[in-house]
Symmetry: C2
Subunit: 340 residues, 2 copies
C-alpha cells in the first residue's frame, strides 16, 4: 500500500509500505477514506523533534476491512472514526475519561502512521467508534476533524471550563485553536476572544463563533484581553500552541481562579512556579482524551449541528502529501486533508 | 503595644510598636486573643526571602475594639477570625471564591503583622468573620487554626478534589499538610496517604485521618504511592511544601486526570512543561482563599466536629516569640501558638 514516510526534517515521501494485517485478536484493519496532516507533524518536519524514516499520520476515518476474533463493537463494513491514541476504554483511567492515558495507550503517530491507504488499529473495540451509517462525502472532512483536531480543541475548552456566562480567550489560531473556538461556542460561552494576526484565520475564527479578535501577542495581547474583561482576565483560556510565550500568554490572560486548558504539545517550556502560584489559575491539559468526546462529536457532525471540516482549507491526494506539509509549514494552509 | 519584628534572618525580636488606629472607615482594630508562627514565616527566617525589620504574623483571632464608620458586619466586642489576606468579599473575584486575589487584596503579613497585641484590619466587613459567641479558651487554638493553616489545608484538599471514593496523598507533614489530611477526611476521602518521616508527625497525621504513611521521599515516595494505588497514582495530591522536589513528587504521585492542589509557596520552582503535559494532571493552587471557607470552618470548630488546634504543639507568651521561631526552624515544634 501507499503511505507517508518522513525521512528527515522537511523530507516527506509517499512510498510503498507493508500492508497491515491482524496481529492481535483485538485488532481491526481499516481502509482509510481520508487522513490529514496535523500541526504536531510540523514539529519533526521543522526539526524540533527528532525524526528518521518515521511513518506519519494519526488522524483517520475509514471502513473496517477485517477484525480480529475478539472484536465485538465494530464489524467489517462499518465506517469508523478513531482517536489518535489507542485505548482499551475499559481500564480505570479510561473509565475516568482519560483514554489518552489508558494503561494500554499507544500513540498512533509513532506506531501506525495513518497517512496511508490502510491501518491496523489495536484495541479496536476501545479505540474506534462507528458512525450511524455510511456518511456522504460532504461529511468526511468533519468526521475526520473529530479524530484529533476537534476532539483536542473540545478537550481544551472543557479543561478551560468554557460555558455559559464565561469569557473564553483562545491563544493560537491554528486548526486546534479554531476548533477550541467552535467548542467554546457549542459549550455556551458568552464571549470568545480569538487571538490571531492573520486575516483568513480571523475570518474562520469568526465563522466558528469568535466575538472578539485580538491581534496583539505576548504582553500586549494579555493587556488587550484584560481591557476586554474589566481588568480581570478571561474566565477560561485555551492554549493551542505549546511554546513558552504562548503558555505564559495563556496563564497571564486568565483571571484568578480561572481555568487554562492547554493542548499545545509543550516544547522547551518551563513554568515559573512562583508566578503560577500567585496567579491562582487552574491548569489542565495534555494529550486530549478524544475518545471521551467522540460519540458526542460524531453525533453533532452527523446531525449537521457543527461544521468542523471547514478547518481543512487544502485538499490533496495522498501522493501529494509533501506539498500538504509544505503548505502548512509556510502557513499557506491551516490544515491539509489527504484524499484516498 | 508589644509586637514581633524580624530584623534579619534568624533575628526575631519583640518590641514596642505603634498602637494601631482606625484610618479608613472600613477598618476595624482588634485586640488579639492569640496568634502564631506560620511555616511561611520560616522563609525569611532562613534567608530564603529577604527581610529587613519586618513586622511579622498574619494569623489571628481576637476581639473587636473599635470599628470605622462604614463597618456593618462586625461590632465592638465581637470575637472574630480573619484570613491572612485582606479582601472586600464583594468584588467579582471574591464572589467567585478567590478572596485571596480580591481586587483590594493585601497580605496581612506584609502590611499589618499580627504577632502583636493589637492589629488594624482593613476591609473589616469583608475580611473578618464573627464567631457565634465568645469562645471558651479551649476553642482558641482551633479557631486560630482556621485563619490560615486549616483554611489553607482545606483549600488544598478542595483544589485536589478530595472526596468520597478518592485516594488522597499529602506531600508535606508540616501544619498545612496535617490540616490537608484533616480536610481530606472531612471531605470524605476513602484513603489518605500521609508522606512523613517523623514519628510524631506520623502520629498526628493518623490522628487527623491518615490511613497510610509513606516515609520515603522523592522518586521512592512516588513509587510507594503507586504501589498503594494499583500502579495508577493517587486521585488527589496535596502539595504543602513548595520546593522543586515536593512539586514534582506531587505531580508524579497523581494519576492521569487526577488533581494536584498545591499550597506550599513555590520558591525557585520550574515546572517542566512537557512532563506536565504528558502527566495529564489538573494543577491548582496558590494563596488560599481562606475567607471562602471560614464560615464553614468556624462552624465545624464551634460544633466540636474538628480539632485543628492539636496542630499547635508549642505554646509560648508573645514575648518569647523568638524561641517559638527557633523551635519550628529546628523542627522541635510543628507550630507555635503565641498567647497574649
Amino acid at each position: 500500500m501507499r503511505g507517508v514516510v518522513m525521512y528527515a526534517p522537511g523530507d516527506v515521501r509517499v512510498e510503498d509500505r507493508e500492508d497491515p494485517e491482524i496481529i492481535e485478536p483485538t485488532d481491526a484493519v481499516i481502509r482509510l477514506s481520508a487522513t490529514c496532516v496535523c500541526g504536531s507533524d510540523l514539529w519533526p518536519y521543522r526539526g524540533v523533534e527528532p525524526v528518521d524514516r518515521q511513518v506519519m499520520g494519526h488522524e483517520y476515518v475509514g471502513v473496517v476491512e477485517e477484525v480480529g476474533s475478539a472484536v465485538r463493537n465494530v464489524g467489517v463494513g462499518d465506517f469508523v472514526v478513531g482517536s489518535f491514541v489507542i485505548s482499551d476504554n475499559t481500564c480505570e483511567i479510561c473509565r475516568s475519561g482519560y483514554q489518552s492515558k489508558c494503561v494500554h495507550a499507544s500513540f498512533v503517530a509513532q506506531s501506525i502512521g495513518t497517512q496511508a491507504e490502510r491501518a491496523r488499529i489495536p484495541h479496536a473495540d476501545g479505540t474506534l467508534v462507528a458512525t450511524p451509517g455510511q456518511p456522504g462525502p460532504e461529511l468526511i472532512p468533519s468526521l475526520l476533524a473529530t479524530s484529533d483536531v476537534l476532539g483536542t480543541g473540545w478537550f481544551a475548552a472543557d479543561a478551560a471550563q468554557a460555558g455559559p456566562g464565561r469569557t473564553v480567550a483562545v491563544v493560537g489560531d491554528g486548526a486546534v485553536g479554531l476548533m477550541g473556538v467552535l467548542a467554546a461556542r457549542e459549550l455556551g460561552a458568552e464571549r470568545i476572544i480569538a487571538m490571531s494576526r492573520h486575516a483568513d484565520r480571523q475570518d474562520l475564527a469568526r465563522f466558528y463563533g469568535a466575538t472578539d479578535i485580538v491581534a496583539e501577542r505576548g504582553e500586549e495581547g494579555v493587556e488587550r484581553v484584560r481591557e476586554l474583561t474589566e481588568g480581570l482576565g478571561a474566565h477560561s483560556v485555551i492554549e493551542a500552541v505549546g511554546t513558552q510565550e504562548s503558555m505564559m500568554q495563556a496563564v497571564r490572560s486568565t483571571r484568578p481562579g480561572g481555568y487554562v486548558g492547554y493542548v499545545g504539545v509543550a516544547h522547551d517550556v518551563e513554568l515559573p512556579g512562583e508566578e503560577l502560584f500567585f496567579s491562582a489559575v487552574h491548569l489542565h491539559g495534555g494529550p486530549a482524551p478524544v475518545r471521551r468526546f467522540l460519540p458526542d462529536l460524531i453525533r453533532r457532525v452527523w446531525d449537521r449541528e457543527i461544521d468542523p471540516g471547514r478547518v481543512f482549507d487544502l485538499s490533496l491526494p495522498l501522493d501529494q502529501a509533501a506539498e500538504g506539509y509544505r503548505a502548512m509549514d509556510e502557513r499557506r494552509a491551516v490544515k491539509t486533508l489527504l484524499t484516498l
